[in-house]
Every structure is written in C-alpha cells, then in structure tokens.
Assembly symmetry: none
Homo-oligomer: 148 residues x 2
DNA sequence: TAAAAAGTGGGGAATAGTGGGGAATGAAGA
DNA sequence: TCTTCATTCCCCACTATTCCCCACTTTTTA
C-alpha cells in the first residue's frame, strides 16, 4: 500500500533516488522489477512489475482498431519501461518520459495505493490548486454524502 | 470519540506530542498505527489507521482515469502518511504536510469524533472568525432544528 | 574511413540535512 | 508537595543530494 507525497530531486542524468522507506515494498523479495509509464494526466506511473502486468494485459485485450482503445494502448504500453533500483536505490527516468511529464529537477513522488505517480513540481501544484479551488465540487456524484 | 481543541507546539523537526489523554484512544491496543493526511480546507487529518482504511478503500475504488476522482485520490491518499507514536508520544509531521497546512510552531489539534484535524493557529483562527461571523447561518439545511 | 569528441549512463562516495531517540526543565494538576 | 506532562534541546545515525570516475555508444571532424 503506497501512500504519502515526497519531494525529491532528479540528478543530472535524470535519476531519482526512491525514498528508502518505500524500496522494499516497491521491489518486494529478490529485488523484483518496476515499470514506469505515462499517465494521460501528464504524470508518470511507477508500478511494481507484478502489479503492472495485469493492467497491461487488460489494456492490450482492448480492440486495437478502436480509436480510443488504441490511443490508450499507445500511451500506457507505448511509454512503459522496465527498470530496477540500482545499488543506491535509484531509477533512471528516460528523456522521453521526463519530457512527457515536463520533469525538471524538482519532482513529487505521490503514493496512490498500488503504485506511485511522479509529477513535476509545477504539475503537482497545479493538481492541488485545481483540487482545492473546486471545494465540494471535487466530489464525484456517487460520493455526494462522503465524509472524512 | 475524539473531541476538544488543544493548543500545541511543533518541535524544531516538526514533531507533535499528542496529548497524553488522547494517546490510548488514538492507538488502541498494541500501539496501532495512525494516518495523517491533507484535507481540502488546508488542514490535516489524523486518523487511527483502522478508521482510515475504509475511507481510503472507498476513495481508491473510484475510476482513476476520471479527472475529478483522481484529484481527490491525489489529495487524500497522495498525502496520507503512516505513522506511529514514538516513546514520548510524538508524531513527525513531514515537510510536505506542514507546507500544505501552513503549519509553523503553534498548531491546534481539534477533535472531530472519528479523527482529529490539525490546523495552523492562523488557519484555526480564520475558521473561528468565519463561523462566528455567520451566526445562525452556519447550520446546514438538514440541521435546521438543531439545538445545543 | 578512422579518430576524436560529445553524450549518456553505471556505479560509487562525501556531506549536509533530516529525523530517531532521549533527557532536562518548568508548568500545571492532583 | 509530588506527579504528570508539554516544551525544548541534544546526541547520533541515516538518507537524499550532489558530484565524480569511468565506460560505452553515437556523432562529428579530419
């Protein structure tokens, strides 16, 4: 279960040191792999490989001649990259993924239960501004009576 | 059932000593965990972990490609951090959570039944000012017949 | 066509800052 | 007066950041 937001820096090569407290949960036993891909909201998604595979299978089972389905396939699977933590707990974010999410030096790693989202700092702030500016309207209709 | 408002100080590292009278109720038997997260009204929410989990499950069951749902997920789960009371009954409020709620040294811990809210002193005062300036209009329609 | 230069990235280490853990102290309550 | 508790501050370990060496690949130049 990944949660919490952490401010991090990318190094000069575009590498990200995954916070020490999340490393074991991310890679599990035997240092399993990770998958980094693009999200339609212009952030990146970081999954344990085992959590990603069923998602990719579901996406690729969509009809590939359907325009909407193929757009999603190209985005989510087209951008997906296998990676592993190095000895210092870092992953390399490739130039195409950095460009897609407009990542510069300062980024936010945001836990979302089964995976993390990776945002540029500006992108993250824009998300927060949007969430906070909407007040009650942020709740979808099916959660109209939701209480914290 | 958490109630009462307490003025507290954060220490130099951003830690908060939970008032002794609330510690057992918050952590229950066997020192169970807590969850601290963000609220759209720019305060923080402190829940026993067991009370938080159903809320998080409900939030994460929303469709994650839906823009409105994902804004809520990013705020509530993105900011949610697991924590435990240390030997002196303290919890560490991370820099991103402190920034979100504009917490400085003086804070207010405010019981809200199932959880606590944590406010900056200025934020709390603004809430009081707003509540008191509205007089009777502060009641939502469904509580029109409410009496103290 | 071959050599040189530039770019990219693996791997690692030094260091400043963060945070775990604890203790002293003064205030408040019993 | 004694006990409890919140505040403040300290020691020390861990971690994220920054920077470096080196190797390989690609591009540019002679």
């Amino acid at each position: 279960m990944f949660r919490g937001a952490t401010a991090l820096n990318l190094d000069a090569k575009g590498r990200l040191a995954v916070p020490a407290k999340h490393r074991d949960a991310l890679t599990g036993q035997a240092g399993a792999g990770l998958v980094l891909t693009a999200h339609p909201h212009r952030c990146l998604l970081l999954y344990p490989q085992s959590a990603w595979e069923p998602i990719q299978q579901k996406i690729m089972s969509l009809p590939s001649l359907d325009k909407q389905a193929s757009l999603l396939q190209r985005l989510l699977v087209g951008f997906a990259e296998d990676m592993a933590l190095d000895g210092a707990g870092r992953v390399l974010v490739s130039p195409v993924l950095r460009e897609f999410a407009a990542l510069e030096k300062q980024v936010m790693l945001v836990g979302q239960g089964t995976h993390f989202e990776l945002w540029s700092l500006d992108g993250w702030r824009a998300q927060l501004d949007e969430a906070l500016s909407q007040g009650a309207q942020v709740l979808p209709p099916e959660m109209g009576d939701f209480s914290l």
